[in-house]
């Protein structure tokens, strides 16, 4: 277990903004996992007029993975579909994740990419 968590991790882990599976139609879903740590992430994206209208996530992982997923979800809304890639290293740096956690943050990037594959400009 990592010795310390940043204040941002603490806040995001406590609040879990945008967490949970959304209801209703029109969501593109992508999932990724990393077996060794058991990290598993599912992202839900909804598009409108060529942009991300909303993003939600589910995650089973360490506090850093949870915080990174929340942070990424908050940044996706409003982004053009052509520019959905999330920089895992930048996310890890922002939440001050230790280097050994980077692999888990990449799972979030992979889940977003997997969801983006199913996106059409006005919904999947």
């Amino acid at each position: 277990m990592s010795a310390a968590y940043s204040g941002l991790v603490a806040r995001l882990f406590a609040d879990l903004p945008l967490a949970g599976a959304p209801e209703g139609p029109g969501w593109a879903v992508g999932e990724a996992a990393e077996p060794l740590s058991g990290t598993r992430v599912r992202f839900f994206l909804k598009a409108q007029a060529g942009h991300v209208a909303a993003a939600r996530y589910q995650v089973r992982g360490c506090p850093h993975a949870v915080a990174a997923a929340a942070l990424a979800a908050g940044r996706l809304a409003g982004r053009p579909l052509a520019d959905l890639d999330v920089d895992a290293a930048a996310l890890a740096a922002e939440i001050e994740a230790p280097p050994e956690k980077l692999g888990r943050i990449f799972v979030i990037q992979d889940a977003i990419r997997a969801a983006a594959l199913h996106l059409a400009p006005d919904g999947p």
Partner: protein, 383 residues
């Protein structure tokens, strides 16, 4: 009750106030090197020998069989490296378990790099090793078997006496890491029939930084010391004796000895109460044999959650994912993986361990907090 609850007594225990008083008396008293021949030195020596007798009494051993060390890790290293090198002319094969503490596995790995052959046996899914499997692993070149009495992660108690019988038949030395056992399970070296037994003080409400190795007197196993200079402790552990630490260990073992008939039952009642509350959650698994276990350790795997996230969510509850010594590596517990738990479940496991100060109110509060945290994290996870 404050929000902070400590349920990590398998990692370390707070020194008993009576231990602190005994140590303070040494620290504030006149100086004296226990090897000096003047009056102050002789007084220090008397304190050391009194503590040696207290440690020996708990394990049913003669005081002269106790060698003080810096802790159980050093005792494990002295036993394993010392016995392997001291008996290398007879053979260079060593046997142990995959579920041993790193203080055993790492010296074995070191010896392997020096050319010794090491066999690490896999226990059953209940964490117990069949003594016959140990016997079957012995060869004509085996010189040492090392098996812990109480597993530090899951708390199972190995059948050391039966393993000793297998070793005896083949003339093989037996080392037992008993760091988690003292004061929690019966620990009579005569009944165990072990040649070498490692002990710690800080697991039994004594100070960190001191431990001991029991070395059988007759027949006395050949050990090569890890260091040289001074000849203290029969030449096996040279260096000026830390009298205050040793006195603290003696006091802690005396207290454990006095409480050994009542305290284990009280600890067992606490862990069973905790398990009963946690078992009402769906998809939770108790790790290790259900009855052959030490009273103070409860290992539980929770499906669908991450162990680190669970510990974090519990806030001011101090407990471990796996062993404290292995936490921080970011990998699932090798002990639970050896028992057949998959990576996801092994990484979603908590070790609760209770101690002398633990109350039923604390156990109930932890159970409630764990239940709430598990349900919250499961709701967050993908189905």
């Amino acid at each position: 009750m404050s929000d902070f609850i400590y349920l990590d007594y398998a990692a370390t225990t707070p020194p008993d106030p009576r231990v602190c008083v005994a140590m303070q008396a040494v620290l504030e008293g006149p100086p004296g090197n226990a090897s000096s021949t003047h009056a102050a030195g002789r007084a220090a020596r008397a304190r050391v020998e009194a503590a040696r007798a207290e440690v020996a009494a708990l394990i049913g051993a003669p005081p002269a069989s106790i060698v003080f060390t810096s802790g159980a890790t050093e005792a494990d290293n002295l036993a394993i490296q010392g016995a392997a090198r001291g008996n290398a002319a007879r053979g260079r094969h060593l046997v142990s378990l995959r579920t041993e503490h790193r203080a055993v596995l790492d010296p074995l790995a070191r010896l392997e790099r020096e050319g010794f052959a090491v066999t690490l046996l896999k226990p059953g899914r209940d964490g117990l090793i069949d003594p016959a499997a140990v016997g079957a692993a012995l060869t004509s070149s085996t010189t040492l078997v090392s098996v812990m009495l109480v597993n530090n992660e899951i708390g199972v108690v190995q059948d050391i006496a039966a393993i000793a019988a297998e070793c005896r038949r083949r003339g093989v030395l037996l080392h037992v890491d008993a760091a988690q056992a003292a004061g929690r399970v019966p620990l009579d070296v005569g009944a165990l029939d072990a040649d070498l037994v490692s002990l710690a003080a800080h697991k039994v409400h004594g100070p960190v930084g001191v431990g001991a190795l029991y070395v059988r007197r007759e027949p006395r196993p050949t050990l090569v010391p890890l260091s040289y200079g001074g000849g203290q402790e029969g030449g096996l552990r040279p260096g000026t004796l830390p009298v205050h630490q040793i006195v603290g260990m003696g006091a802690a073992y005396a207290l454990a000895h006095a409480a050994q008939h009542d305290e284990p039952a009280r600890l067992a009642a606490l862990t069973e109460r905790l398990w009963a509350a946690l078992a009402t959650l769906p998809n939770v698994h108790r790790n290790g044999h259900p009855t052959r276990r030490a009273p103070h350790i409860l290992s539980v795997s929770f499906e669908g959650v991450d162990g680190e996230a669970l510990v974090y969510a519990l806030g001011d509850v101090a407990l471990s994912t796996g062993a404290a010594c292995g936490a921080g590596h970011g990998e699932p517990s090798y002990v639970l993986r050896a028992l057949g738990r998959d990576d996801a479940l092994a990484s979603a496991s908590l070790r609760f361990s209770v101690g002398r100060p633990t109350t039923t109110a604390e156990v109930d509060a932890v159970a409630a907090r764990v239940r709430a945290a598990v349900l919250r994290l499961r709701a967050l996870a993908p189905a």
